[in-house]
């Protein structure tokens, strides 16, 4: 936990790793055109999430926030900065360090009709709250015969960060996906993070909302207070014909970096950001699979038992005849995330590997187009 406080204290990612610098460079062209457009302000993802929480708390007095350091400290990633001054200590509740305890408390409060947003300072800490999330949150509507709902939003950053060590680099979507009754949503851009969080807060289902440690300072435009996304819809990031790449969260940027390179080489990949990790948006997924007939999955989960593994199984089982090639799945290695920079980079998927995968599945040279 101390580690994550230090990363926040160091502020914006000045010492960005080469990969991220490349992403920012690739997007500078787009940013110039954005600046030329209407005066819509560019904000960072943490500000967008904060706006979402603020707007929803103002709209509905039963919405409240609980978690470690969400109040007076302002949130370890600033997602609740200053909100306690506006809404008071009861609505922005600083909890002690007891994930099992305060997750249970959030569920109990939700059972009475409140709509808590429970923050895990790092998603990995929520392993301590697994029992509450699985048994008392996910299953409750069902086992109570429909009597209770748990309109909880469980949110927090996960994923592999910048040398945060094995225990602070976990991908909890792997473990949570099997829990019956919860919805899993992963945001990736400023715009979709705000719109999806608003939708998650308004939803009556328990939503586990995955943010990423390295995306909080990503810049973009956010929607206004009525912009509420659909939680079950995937986002087509780029339309294409040669192959479809399914991805989510930070891997979207890794994929887009690879796509920039691939486009130069003459390829035309389609990129779909899953957004809804459970349930999968099979309508969008099937449409892309049928159009391109070649599938690559790029995930940050480990090879064993992650979101990509489930998606790969679904695509093979239900869309087999629409495929010209078996699904190629790029995942992290089944190892604890090492501390050393180079080893950490080797654990997760890099954009060059995505380029290689496209070469492998589409062909070493781009297809000739009419």
């Amino acid at each position: 936990m101390l580690a994550s406080r230090n990363t926040r204290a160091s502020g914006a990612r000045v010492a960005a790793a080469p990969a991220q610098r490349a992403i920012l460079a690739a997007r500078s062209g787009r940013r110039a055109s954005v600046a030329a457009q209407a005066q819509k302000k560019e904000i960072m993802m943490w500000e967008a999430l904060r706006e979402a929480i603020d707007e929803e708390m103002e709209r509905d007095p039963t919405v409240c926030v609980m978690g470690e350091d969400v109040g007076h400290y302002g949130g370890s990633y600033k997602c609740t900065l200053g909100l306690y001054k506006k809404y008071g200590d009861m609505r922005v509740l600083d909890t002690p360090i007891c994930e099992n305890g305060f997750m249970g408390m959030g569920v109990g409060a939700a059972m009475t009709g409140l709509r808590p947003i429970v923050e895990g300072m790092n998603m990995g800490f929520l392993l301590l709250a697994f029992n509450q999330i699985s048994n008392n949150c996910g299953m409750l509507h069902y086992t109570s015969g429909g009597q209770f709902k748990t309109p909880l939003v469980i949110r927090g950053p996960g994923g592999v960060g910048r040398q945060l060590g094995a225990e602070h680099s976990q991908r909890l979507e792997s473990y949570f996906q099997s829990i019956p009754g919860v919805q899993l949503v992963a945001c990736s851009t400023v715009k979709n993070s705000k719109a999806l969080l608003k939708a998650a807060i308004r939803s009556d289902n328990p939503i586990i909302f995955f943010e990423h440690v390295l995306l909080y300072n990503v810049k973009g435009e956010a929607g206004d207070k009525d912009d509420v996304a659909c939680l079950e819809r995937a986002e087509v990031v780029r339309e294409g014909t040669d192959v479809v790449i399914f991805t989510y969260s930070r891997m979207r940027y890794v994929v887009m970096q690879a796509v920039n390179e691939l486009v130069k080489q003459g390829y035309n990949p389609e990129v779909v950001d899953l957004i809804s990790l459970k349930p999968f948006d099979m309508e969008t997924i099937a449409k892309s699979v049928k159009k391109t007939r070649k599938v690559i999955i790029v995930e940050e989960c480990m090879k064993t038992g992650g979101i990509g593994a489930s998606l790969s199984a679904v695509i093979h089982e239900s869309l087999f005849n629409e495929l010209d090639h078996e699904v190629v799945r790029l995942s992290s290695q089944d190892v604890p995330t090492a501390y050393a920079y180079e080893l950490e980079a080797a654990t997760i998927v890099q954009s060059s590997q995505v380029v290689d995968a496209v070469h492998r599945i589409v062909g070493a040279t781009a297809p000739v187009r009419a």
Partner: protein
Amino acid sequence: MLGLSMARLFASAAASPTIKVEVLPYKVHRIEAPSNVVETNVEELMGFYKLMYKMRRMEIAADMMYKAKFIRGFCHLYDGQEAVLTGIEAAITLKDSIITSYRDHCQHVSRGGSIVSLMAELMGKQEGATKGLGGSMHIYNRKNNFYGGNGIVGAQIPLGAGIALAHKYKGEPNVCITMYGDGAANQGQKYEALNMAGLWNLPAIFVCENNHYGMGTAEWRAAKSPNFYTRGDYIPGIKVDGMDVLAVKNAVAFAKAHALANGPIVMEMDTYRYHGHSMSDPGSTYRTRDEINAMRTERDPIERVKKLLLTNGVDAADLKKIDKEVKKEVDDAVEQAKLGKIPPLAWLWRNMYMAPLGAGMRGVLPDEYHVPAFDPSYKS
């Protein structure tokens, strides 16, 4: 003092003359003990007798149904502990909340549920309290603020703190009674919940039903300190003779007033269960039959109330009449439950989520898809 005035409120509701009963003095921790002279009357005692006898017969019926294989899986019976719940309900209202673990059959009935719906749930019928989907360990009654029915012991304690938080958040003058056993009292999350409840002065009453055995492990073998009423440390505690419904009622009334004014309090109810931990446990490998029989003859909660009624002018024949009526009510409920229908297969996928997702679910075999019909009336 508080306990006495609260008790007087109950007694004054009826017309019969007040009876003063001296109960076992309370052991206290960081708080002043309430008076151990409890006021009651024949009408109130008759109500206690009826409810406790109903609970007793219900659990015995569940035992018989389990042995006859109408009830399967886990079945944890409450007989012996009736005074705890009856005393609690007498001191609170249906607007206060109760949450407990899996020994929850009687809470359903004390919170206004019918015996038929309880039996139907135990038999897995669609007329059951949770439509046959929950079973013995998952009985809930939202309308009357009964929050279950939890399978993992100890997990209900933070939930209870959350319910108390919600009462405070909404400004309601109500408490949450969070019940757990001596076994669960050693769970870490209990101390997490106590800490938070104490920090924010939540109106939470933590009730440890100490029946002295955590399944097969005696309390002194599981807890370094078996004085559960002191283990809240900075949270005040009170130890109550849990086999005496009047002692319980008085103490809980005192606790409710304390919780609403000051914050959380821990209560230890010294009680006993006649059955084993569950129906798969004979209950005799870790305790002696002599001990069980001694409890039945010396401290049975129903017998105690019966003696009080008889010494205060109630005719034994009247009590026998109540016995017969209750037995018939329970037997009829069992028979009615047996005639209930199995939940239809479509309920397997109905309302997995609160709101429809427009999503289908894959079945066991490939090419099997179920689109759960969302039923907005599927809630109470």
